[in-house]
């Protein structure tokens, strides 16, 4: 489900692209303090979470890593915010995987099961330090699972159950104005991730008979959009993206501003458009091949 956030790095000034990379690497290092396995949950979505939770950019130091064992590179130095983001990412990713184990068929389920076992030590490390967050994620995913079992034909209700998970990541942020801004951004980001994931899986879910809130809500058959449904759904998505942008403007994110502006005003739209056109998976594979 995670993996839809794409910073439009191509159009970004070198300085901002490099700043994003330092955060990505910083998060990776913060994850690995929970065990080497924790690194595999690293992605752009969680990097965005780490950037949002970090108040300003913070210092960097040079470090080596598995990917770059020879030449050390500057990465964000560990801070409480970065460690919080790393632990929350790990907890979210772990429970999402656990969820997949029950969801998927035998072959895929086996893959998720293996990944889960692989992550278990790192997860327990993180969860023992953040028991409340881990408990809430687990409870919230149960709520979501209940809705899936009932095959709820609403898109707002299950999206809310998922979005609340992300919003919760900012629960202890101070001061109140910053917390409210972050909660709004994270809620709508979570909502967007859930909805875009459902739209992206339309065909696959139609073939397997899996629950898909978008297909049920708009009465789509065979995983195919109707023009009217696609239009309605795109308006629903753009409302959430507008709420993210409107919230973003109400807090000064310092050095992160240009990068976040790019992601919120342009990156999320590009991904939305690609998913609605059915071009997203292809793009993902292409960009990975080019890396």
């Amino acid at each position: 489900m995670f993996g839809y956030v794409r910073p439009p790095l191509d159009g970004l000034p070198q300085e901002d692209a490099e700043r994003f990379r330092r955060a990505y690497c910083g998060l990776c290092h913060a994850l690995s303090r929970r065990g080497a396995a924790a690194r595999c949950v690293l992605n752009y979505d969680f990097t965005l979470l780490a950037i949002l939770l970090s108040d300003g950019e913070g210092a960097s130091d040079k470090r080596r890593c598995i990917v770059r064992p020879v030449r050390p590179r500057p990465v964000l130095s560990p801070t409480a915010a970065l460690e919080l983001a790393a632990d929350e990412s790990l907890i979210l990713a772990y429970w999402k995987l656990r969820d997949n184990v029950r969801d998927d068929g035998l072959a895929k389920g086996l893959a998720s099961r293996t990944a889960c076992a692989f992550l278990r030590g790192a997860y327990e490390n993180a969860a023992s330090d953040r028991p409340e967050f881990a408990g809430r994620v687990r409870a919230q995913l149960d709520v979501l699972r209940g809705m899936e079992a009932e095959r709820v034909a609403s898109i707002d209700a299950p999206a809310d159950a998922f979005a609340a998970l992300l919003r919760d990541a900012a629960r202890d942020v101070a001061p109140a104005a910053r917390r409210r801004v972050l909660e709004e951004i994270l809620y709508h980001l979570g909502r967007w991730v859930y909805l875009i994931d459902a739209a992206d899986d339309l065909k696959q879910d139609a073939a397997s008979g899996a629950y898909n809130p978008v297909a049920l809500r708009y009465g789509l058959s065979g995983g195919r959009w109707t023009d009217a449904a696609r239009q309605e759904f795109s308006v629903v998505l753009s409302h959430s993206l507008q709420r993210i942008a409107a919230a973003f403007e109400l807090w000064d994110f310092g050095a992160w501003n240009p990068l976040l502006e790019r992601i919120f005003y342009s990156g999320l739209f590009q991904v939305s458009r690609a998913v609605l056109d059915g071009a997203f998976h292809k793009k993902r594979i292409e960009s990975e091949a080019n890396e």
Binding site: D156, S240, A245, L250
Partner: protein, 208 residues
């Protein structure tokens, strides 16, 4: 008070024209139209006040104490926005619904929901208010359906139709540094006929 030039993001030596441009850009960004039924509307209003005060301060200073400029009003709906609405501008027929309006406006959403559920009569206004509650929470699809229901039950109510219009067309004209934010929706919604009979399209679309 904060440095008014810093608030507008311009240098002290900036030309009047540049200051005006910076002010206009910020006023567009924090305009109430962008924060309709938004849980952060109060923060945006504070921003708007801060920007207005800074602009006022600079102008007063430059005019040698005279204030002969015009600033945007912070909480006035724009005449061109069309779709602007806020529950507070209208009053309800029943005291129960009036109270629910107040709770939604002040952000007591849980309380508003409890009161809504307790309401024995589900009239057009009830659906409108539940739509407003849902919109504030971010339940955009359900909110739209509630507004639609309210419009079906009372097609003459302008407040309901404005709310539905906004939900149907998305935030197409809201602020973005890269052009229109709403271009995710099929090229131009207004170029295509709107199939919703309750929507205000014929009245409002020509402005975009």
């Amino acid at each position: 008070m904060k440095d008014p030039y810093a608030v507008l993001g311009v240098s002290e030596t900036a030309a009047d024209e540049e200051i005006k441009r910076a002010y206009r850009e910020l006023a567009r960004k924090y305009h109430p139209d962008n924060y309709q039924n938004n849980p952060l509307a109060d923060l945006a209003e504070e921003k708007m006040k801060e920007i207005n005060a800074a602009y006022e301060e600079i102008n007063k200073h430059r005019a040698g104490g005279r204030s002969d400029y015009q600033s945007y009003q912070s909480a006035r709906p724009s005449s061109a926005g069309g779709a602007y609405y806020e529950a507070r501008y209208n009053s309800s027929a029943s005291p129960d619904l009036q109270r629910i309006r107040r709770e939604i406006q002040t952000g007591n959403l849980t309380e508003a929901e409890t009161l809504l559920n307790r309401c024995p009569e589900r009239n057009a206004e009830w659906y409108f208010l539940r739509g407003a509650l849902r919109q504030k929470r971010g339940w955009m699809d359900d909110a739209r359906q509630d507004y639609q229901r309210a419009c079906q039950m009372d097609p003459t109510n302008l407040e309901y139709r404005q709310a539905l219009h906004y939900m149907n067309h998305g935030p197409a004209r809201t602020y973005s540094p890269f052009g229109t934010l709403g271009d995710l929706c099929a090229a131009n919604l207004c170029a295509n006929a709107c199939f919703n009979p309750w929507c205000l399209c014929p009245m409002f679309c020509c402005w975009s």
